[in-house]
Every structure is written in C-alpha cells, then in structure tokens.
C-alpha cells in the first residue's frame, strides 16, 4: 500500500470517523453528552481488555524474545522525559513545573493510542508481537517518576506531595487494570480467555469507536485553549511525537521487533499520556498549568497521532525494519 492508501484506510476507519464526529458535536455545540460513567466504564474496559489479551499472548511467548524489547522500552521511558523537558525549557522557555509536566505526559503512554494502533495494523493486515501490552505497562510509570524527579531537583521543594503522587501512580487504575488484566490472562490462558472473548475481544473495536466519540468531544473542548497555549505548544505537540515515534521505531528494530511491533513501539513512544500523567502531575506539580499539558496532550498530539501518526510510524517501520 502507498502512504496515501494507508492514510485513507486509517482516516476512513470507524474509530477515526467517530473521533471526528465527537469534534464536530462540540464545535456545533450539540447537546450530545456521553455520561461520565460511560466514559469511565469504557476506559476500564479498554485497559482490562488490552491487558487480558496481552496476558493470554504472553502465556504463549518465550521470555527469551521478550527481554530486549522490554529493555528498549524502559530505555525510551528514561530518555524521552529528559529530552522533552530540555526542549520545553530551552526552546519553549517554560517554567520548570510546566516543562516537567510536559515531560511526564510525553514520556508516558496513551493506552487508547495503543489500541488504535492495534486496530490500524489489523485493518492493514500486519501482525505484531502479542506481548506489546506489557510494553505499555513498562512505559507508563518511569517517565512520570523521572519528570517529577527533575522538577524536584531543578526547582527545590515544590509544595506538591511527591511521595503521595508516587504511591498513587503505582496503584493507579491504569496500571492496576493493565497489569492485573495481563496477569489474569497469563494465569487463565487461552481456555479462560476464550470464555470471556465475546466481551473482551469481539466488542473491542466497537467499544474503542464509542470511546473515541467521547474523546473527540474532549479534545475539541481543548481546542479553544489553543490560542492561549501559543505557537510553541502547537509545534511541540506535533514535532515531539514524530521524533519520539522515530526513536521508538528505531529502538524496536534494534530490539528485534517485527515491522508491526516496531510500529507499535513507535506509537507508544510518540503517544502522550492522558490518564495517569495528568492525575499524578496535578497532585505533585500543582503549579504547572493544566492548560498547557492537557491541551498539548489531548488537543494536539492525540488527534495528530490518531489521524496521521499511525500510518506515518508504520511507514517508518517499513523503511527501518523492513528495509523497504
């Protein structure tokens, strides 16, 4: 497929179109409003489903092939926040708190972007390693910890409650569901997995579509903050994921991942957290302006990755891993 065809497959997928519908609903000021409880339910479902599927796959994976990608992922979680922080401080002239907040978001990962990547690769017909959800879990926390640590070191006592933030991070629902789901999947194996597949596998893409409808509305509400966020943030929200995506794909190829697996590691690196990071940053770095990190992560990077990033990182993976 050419990149145009890939873009078309992606942009005309139900999930991207539902995201666009959500944006439109907000822009025309529709009274459409998904209940908060539905949003919460879908996000719990998606995390658990990703974990379960990954766990079942892990049960059939030799750990020998898993260590290199795991290390590569951990490494990404250490480099990206430092890189993002420097860019935000030096080029963006941001305060320590704001720069560290951005670093936490871009170093961590968005599980929904990951799910969208899986769906995209399925539609294109590309296979990927089954243990990828484990990489999501590995990438989620370290970057946030490092970013908070940078803020602590660079800024002196911050008022925020550092230790509390760390505890909440490790026991946060996204980690708990992802890792818990993986352990359940791993313990119960294919037989147990088959019992719950009608809910956790068959309905996955439909649920993701529903979720993206809501996320489109959320993202569009962030659009109105774009002007006050400024040009730097717009550029950061687009160029940062491209660079991180490239890094991720490259690390994936070094770690011996397939084209599909490298694509996904690229997506993980490129994606910005919007569940774990905001909650942790809000508590540990209350001075950081949510108008910056939420707008960048949800209003710019998420739509960019969803619409353009997925086919882009796949194309990069084809070049780098596939040698095409």
């Amino acid at each position: 497929m050419t990149i145009i065809e890939l873009l078309q497959v992606n942009l005309l997928s139900p999930m991207v179109l539902a995201f666009a519908l959500g944006i439109i609903a907000t822009l025309v000021r529709s009274d459409l409003k998904l209940p908060d409880e539905l949003y919460t339910t879908l996000s719990i479902y998606l995390l658990l489903a990703i974990g379960l599927k990954g766990g079942v796959a892990l049960a059939e994976t030799s750990l020998a092939v898993f260590w290199a990608p795991a290390l590569a992922t951990l490494f990404l979680g250490l480099i990206i926040p430092v890189f993002a922080y420097s860019v935000a401080r030096k080029i963006g002239k941001m305060t320590i708190a704001d720069a560290a907040a951005l670093a936490a978001h871009y170093g961590s990962v968005s599980a929904v972007t990951f799910a969208a990547a899986q769906t995209f690769l399925d539609a294109v017909g590309i296979r990927y390693e089954g243990f990828m959800p484990a990489l999501v879990a590995i990438l989620e926390v370290p970057a946030i910890v490092i970013a908070l640590f940078i803020a602590q070191v660079a800024g002196g006592p911050q008022g925020g409650d550092w230790r509390e933030a760390l505890r909440e991070l490790i026991t946060s629902k996204s980690i708990l569901l992802l890792v818990g789901g993986m352990i359940i999947g791993w313990l119960t194996g294919p037989r147990g997995g088959k019992e719950v597949a009608p809910l956790f596998v068959d309905l996955f893409k439909g649920a993701l579509t529903f979720f993206l409808l809501e996320l489109g509305m959320v993202a569009a509400r962030r659009f109105r903050d774009l002007p006050s966020a400024g040009l730097f943030l717009l550029g950061f929200g687009i160029i940062m994921p491209i660079l991180n995506g490239l890094l991720g794909v490259w690390f994936g190829s070094l770690a011996g991942l397939s084209v599909g697996g490298s694509t996904i590691l690229g997506v993980l690196a490129a994606s910005a957290s919007y569940i774990a990071a905001p909650a942790a940053v809000r508590i540990a770095l209350p001075q950081a302006n949510p108008g910056f990190y939420l707008t960048a992560s949800l209003g710019i990077t998420f739509p960019f990755n969803l619409a353009i990033g997925l086919p882009l990182y796949y194309t990069l993976a084809l070049w780098i891993v596939g040698g095409q």
Partner: protein, 105 residues
C-alpha cells in the same frame, strides 16, 4: 425539642483532591462528611480533573472553631494552586453533640 446551632462548611474542589481533603478534614476535627459530584466553572482556567468531567462538593457539620480552622487551612494549602472554593454557614441540628467534637486528633 432543643435545636443547636453548628457550622456547615461546604467545599467545592477538583476530584483529584478527594483523599487529601477528607484526610485533612478528619485531622482538623470533623467527625463526618458528605460528598456529592458536581461540575462547575470559576475564575481559574481548567483544572486537571475537568476533562474527566467532575468536581466534588463536600459538606461537613462542625463546631465554629473547627469550621474556622478548615477555612483557614484550605485558604493556605489549596487556594493558591487548586480549583477549590469553600463557604460556611450556620445551621440548626437536633443533637449538636454529634457534630461538636473537640478540635483535631
């Protein structure tokens, strides 16, 4: 029937603060609380919990001294950085003793 006057303190706060606020209330001498879910807008911009769509409305019945301590504490520890407001008022209850416990533990 004898009615006693106690203070009702109401706090509107972003959801992410729930645990901390309830902990603080208990520490300052409140013997109970009631929490509802609300949403709202104020003078500050967005807060991190906004896009998750909710804030908390916490009510606690306390004696006047504890009420003052709570407002004081919120003003110094939360108002500067968080989307939090609070107000107090007099209300009548039947059994004042239940709410009038001593300050802090």
């Amino acid at each position: 029937m004898e009615l006693t006057t106690v203070k009702l303190v109401t706090i509107i706060a972003e959801a992410v603060l729930e645990d901390r606020l309830l902990h603080d209330l208990r520490h300052l001498g409140a013997r109970g609380y009631t929490v509802g879910t609300v949403r709202g807008e104020g003078t500050r911009g967005i807060h991190a919990s906004e896009w998750e769509g909710k804030s908390l409305r916490i009510e606690t019945l306390v004696n006047a001294e504890v009420a003052e301590k709570i407002l004081q504490h919120l003003a110094t520890a939360y108002f500067p950085h968080f989307a939090v407001i609070a107000y107090a008022m007099d209300v009548q209850v039947v059994r004042g003793a239940k709410f009038k416990g001593g300050g802090g533990r």
